[in-house]
């Protein structure tokens, strides 16, 4: 494998790891709220979170490019904060990926929270556990399969991302040129041998991820997909 390919693999793993951590931090409160709320906004918030499941990556990539560009609202904000514009940067890819992979984290965790039901939390309340304590000592441990499933799917989905990165990445080595883009470049340049190395690797990786997911707990696989 060439060093450019290794660079792409390393960058992809770095991106997916950062994104997975952020997804846990952002996705958990959203999933908790969606699982517990009786608000009329529940449907709307759930729909926004699920949007990346149905939207073509070209739509997401195009709007991110326009919104985060110097003439878009996001771009004006980041420039005012002195961060410059986000397209063509690693943080830009992270933000795009968090949005793009959000449903893969939120939905399994939300399902797991919903499966707990009211009862264990009520029992904990009668034992004088406060809301914070109930969440950490009861809900989170019981929802562990959901977290595991969400983290694996969020990570794997970020690794498999292509269209959004292509549209806002700018194909910069070690910054935005992830494996899927590198494969695309190899195929376009007719370097089929190098393409096979990476593409075959992705195939094996994806299979192993799903195999792990399903064999850890057959029930768990179903909650995510």
């Amino acid at each position: 494998m060439e060093s450019a390919d290794l660079g792409a693999v390393w960058l992809t793993l770095k991106l997916a790891s950062v994104v997975t951590v952020l997804l846990l931090l952002i996705g958990t409160p959203i999933a908790w709220w969606l699982a517990r709320t009786h608000s009329r906004l529940k449907g709307a918030v759930g729909a926004v979170v699920a949007l990346p499941l149905v939207l073509p990556p070209t739509v997401i990539g195009f709007y991110l490019l326009v919104a985060l560009g110097p003439n878009g609202p996001g771009g004006r904000l980041t420039e005012a904060l002195g961060l410059g514009i986000l397209p063509f940067t690693f943080p830009g890819l992270v933000i795009a990926s968090v949005f793009y992979s959000l449903p893969f984290m939120v939905q399994p965790v939300q399902n797991a929270f919903e499966a707990i039901g009211e009862r264990p939390l009520e029992v904990a309340a009668t034992l004088r556990a406060g809301p914070w304590d109930r969440f950490w000592s009861v809900a989170v441990p019981l929802a562990r399969p959901g977290f595991l499933s969400g983290a694996i799917l969020g990570f794997a989905h970020t690794v498999g991302e292509f269209g959004v990165v292509l549209m806002i990445g700018g194909n910069i080595p070690d910054k935005t040129r992830v494996v899927s883009v590198q494969i695309y470049d190899h195929v376009e340049a007719l370097e089929y041998a190098q393409a096979h190395w990476l593409a075959g690797g992705m195939l094996v990786f994806s299979f192993l991820v799903l195999l792990t997911l399903y064999s850890l707990n057959p029930r768990l696989g179903r909650t995510g997909l």
Binding site: L65, V66, L68, G69, P70, N71, G75, G84, I85, P87, F88, L166, M167, I168, G170, N171, I172, Y184, D185, V187, E188, A189, L190
Partner: protein, 247 residues
């Protein structure tokens, strides 16, 4: 006749009625002129040209894997020659339909000066160009930067578009302050349509000879031959020139 046979014959008829269609793979830089030419072609001959736009390298991969294109209008002269050598194109049908020009362009008025000095000043964050490995206009941009001795200084600022259309999009949305695009993308009837531009002198890069060829699937197809002839007509040549190509 059963309903099924009616439906079947209707479908067969529909296929027959579209037999004078020709499937054309068009290099992204030639999008706008080709749309105009295809419209005129349909009006003048009754044949319909169905257009697909993209990167020449991608078209090559698709054609060698059985894509149903009948004509390729490439962004270079190597790909059509290669297809002919590999018997994927009809022999002796290749010709240069346009000579492309490279331009340094910004969506901002007054940003790019008439001598390209802006490249030397270097007070920009991103310079967009098409992937030099796969897109001829990207290769030309790299050649020009090297001849100007600026390759090293601008290298960290380069962002690559997958093809010349995406490169244009990066600049048009302002995400890259400036970029090397095809003149045809920003030029109409003798002038640059928006922003500011420097037409890169031809001596700074190898001539971008854009060749068209009839592919194996279009051999002996009247509509394909008709479109190739049409591209050589005065009417089509006038359209091609109006987008800043040379001929």
């Amino acid at each position: 006749m059963s309903r099924f046979t009616v439906l079947l014959s209707a479908l067969l008829f529909a296929v027959g009625a579209h037999a004078d269609e020709v499937q054309v793979a068009v290099a992204a830089n030639f999008t706008a002129p080709m749309q105009q030419i295809a419209a005129a072609f349909e009006k003048d001959t009754g044949h319909k040209a169905v257009l697909a736009f993209g990167a020449t390298g991608k078209f090559y991969a698709q054609i060698s894997n059985g894509a149903p294109f009948e004509i390729l209008l490439a962004a270079d002269d190597e790909t059509p020659a290669k297809l002919e050598r590999e018997l994927l194109a009809a022999p002796r049908t290749r010709f240069t339909y346009a000579i492309g020009k490279l331009v340094l362009w910004s969506a901002k008025e007054g940003y790019v000066d008439g001598q390209g000095e802006v490249l030397k000043k270097g007070d920009f964050k991103h310079l967009a160009l098409a992937n030099p490995k796969t897109a001829p206009y990207g290769t030309a941009a790299v050649e020009a930067l090297k001849k100007l001795g600026l390759m090293e200084s601008v290298q960290p600022k380069i962002v690559q578009g997958e093809n010349i259309a995406q490169t244009h999009q990066f600049v048009a949305t302002g995400n890259a302050e400036l970029g090397f695009v095809a003149l045809s993308q920003v030029f109409k009837d003798g002038k640059v349509t928006s922003g500011s531009a420097w037409i890169v002198p031809a001596k700074l890069y190898d001539t971008i000879r854009q060749d068209g060829v009839i592919l194996a699937k279009g051999r002996n197809k009247p509509a394909a031959t008709a479109l190739m002839d049409y591209l050589k007509s005065d009417k089509a040549r006038a359209i091609i020139k109006s987008y800043g190509y040379e001929l």
